[in-house]
Amino acid sequence: MMIGEIIETMSTGFVAESFELNQPPALGSFVVVHAPSAGPSVELYAVVTNGRTVGVDPSRRPIRQSTAAVFDQAIYEHQPQLKHTLRTEFSAALVGWATEGRIRQHLPSRPPPLHFSVHTASEEQVQHFTHSLQYLRLLLQTVAEVSPLQVVAANVREVFERRDQDRDWLCQAAREIAILLKSDHEALLNVLQAIDPGEADPANSALARQSSAIAPDPSRRGSRP
């Protein structure tokens, strides 16, 4: 599903504007860009590392809009121009690419072109890509506003859900992370605590329910000025 358009691009990743205000893709989730290619199709895979909503005009900063009577979602109905004066952006770090069914987990030779669309990765794409865990190494080295540790933890949680709570995969991923962070125990514990699935399922299904509640409504696409 198309969820945004690239507005900044560089070798390590890109920034895209979401089509839906306040609905960037989930932190740590996989997004895909179809790169232009003379030969067989190439998909670039990236992991969402940040989401933010700011004024379209950088010189205009959002100010408080709520009152006692009007707050939260109602504000957007109360001030319909906000849809046009605000925009939601998300950053994503490139972690690999795929072509003809083959997956490579290193930086692609070229960043995705500006203004190309960004799609959420499908179940199949996630399953296929996360078969190898090499990309975690790349992800841990990302320099971004959000700590790479948190991004990796978010990614592992996301993939765990997308893979239908595949515990085997989770354990493998945890071990891979333990090896990557072997000399920084504090950092490792941070991540492990964030991805610990806990004893029973209730917490996990709650997480799944939350994810689906804020999933973008495919029928709505904000009008563009």
Binding site: D57, R60, I63, R64, Q65, Y76, E77, H78, Q79, P80, Q81, L82, K83, H84, T85, S223, P225
Partner: protein
């Protein structure tokens, strides 16, 4: 850089001190003036104003003629459930006197905000590069009357009103058109009638279309300097001639003198949140040419300040349209998050219209490149050159 901030700083302190002593005195007079407002019967004042107008010399001030009572206050009706408020604004890059090439840029901004069950917003701008004779001169055949300064300002007003009107063209919901700034184009009053009527033509045309569509139009003026109504009170108080104040020995002289410094927005501070005053007519000369679009005005407490709303008579005299204008304007201000509040439709229209300095420079560069592409260079004046280079 060579601005002597230290010196100015001292002077600022002096200014603050004098203001401090001035304010309490002022407040007393405002109270008296408001009491006066309540006392004056409107038609009596109208008669006095009419008689004064016919005498010579004329009243040197702008006065307001009450169309209703002086101190009446009207609560804002509830705005309709579904309403669309369209705001319009314009800005320009003025023609560069120091350049050999003559052109200017106009940018109008429009914001159409829909409220109700399907909230929506349409924000847009329209830009024009004006370089043809018909853009540069009011009378292009003779290359006479260049459009610059206040005339350019007037052109902008006309363009923005036209854009505003166009934006309301396919309106299906109750719609209100708001402009930032006055509807009374008093800057034209020193021009010749020919120029005046020429400049006003497009402006008034747009107003007609709005009238046809029954879309009330308001000019929103925040922190207005106007003291039309205060001046009317002076006329009321005046026992002799309005311009012979040195010889006045009336006991009301102090109040009258004070009224000279009291703004209407202070006078109407008795209005509560959402209340508007009764309508007043303006004595501005330019209005003679407005015909049925003659502009009246009222003051409105928007919840943080007393704003002046100018509107044509066909709105002022139509209770439905007036009520819609009043309700929508107040509702806009209630949706504003600034203090004092400001209608979002106008805010967004302004944002759409504004041209940043970076954009200005960009235009210059683009023009130079375009000209260079054709082998021409744009010459600049010596002063401009020295301003740009700022060499030592």
């Amino acid at each position: 850089m060579p601005l002597k901030l230290a010196v100015i700083g001292q002077q600022m302190e002096q200014m603050a001190e004098s203001a401090a002593t001035f304010v309490p005195v002022q407040e007393r007079f405002v109270e008296q003036a408001q009491a006066l407002l309540r006392r004056i019967p409107a038609d009596a004042l109208c008669d006095k104003l009419d008689s004064q107008r016919l005498q010579q010399p004329r009243i040197p001030w702008l006065v307001a003629s009450p169309l209703g009572s002086m101190s009446g206050a009207v609560h804002a009706p509830a705005p309709p459930a579904e309403v669309c408020v369209v705001g319009g604004d314009a800005s320009s890059i003025a023609p560069d006197r120091h350049s050999s090439l003559r052109y200017y840029v106009l940018n109008v901004g429009v914001a159409a905000l829909t409220y109700g069950s399907h909230p929506d917003a349409r924000l847009g701008s329209d830009s024009q590069l004006c370089f043809r004779d018909e853009d540069l001169y009011l009378f292009p055949d003779k290359r006479d009357v260049p459009l610059e300064g206040t005339l350019l300002g007037t052109r902008m007003e006309a363009e923005s009103l036209r854009a505003l009107q166009r934006a309301t063209q396919s309106a299906t919901l109750p719609t209100v058109a708001l402009r930032d700034g006055p509807l009374i184009l008093w800057t034209l009053q020193n021009e010749s009638e020919l120029v005046q009527s020429s400049m006003l033509h497009a402006f008034l045309e747009s107003m007609s279309v709005l009238q046809q569509a029954s879309i009330p139009l308001g000019g929103y003026i925040s922190f207005s300097d106007a003291h039309d109504v205060a001046n009317s009170l002076r006329v009321w108080l005046c026992q002799g001639r309005p311009n012979a104040c040195e010889r006045c020995d009336s006991e009301e002289r102090d109040l009258c003198m004070a009224l000279a410094k009291i703004h209407d927005r202070e006078l109407f501070s008795f209005l509560s949140d959402g209340q508007r005053s009764e309508l007043f007519g303006s004595s501005s000369q330019i209005l003679k040419l407005y015909g049925e679009h003659r502009v009246a005005f009222f003051y409105l407490n928007v919840g943080g300040e007393i704003a002046r709303i100018e509107t044509p008579l066909w709105v002022a005299t139509d209770p439905a349209l007036l009520g819609l204008l009043h309700a929508a304007t107040y509702d806009q201000c209630r949706r504003s998050s600034g203090f004092p509040p400001y209608p979002p439709a106008l805010l967004e229209a302004h944002e759409q219209a504004v041209i940043t300095s970076a954009e200005r420079r960009l235009i210059e560069e683009m023009v130079e490149r375009a000209m260079a592409g054709l082998g021409l260079s744009v010459k600049r004046s010596a002063k401009d050159d020295s301003k740009r280079r700022r060499g030592v």
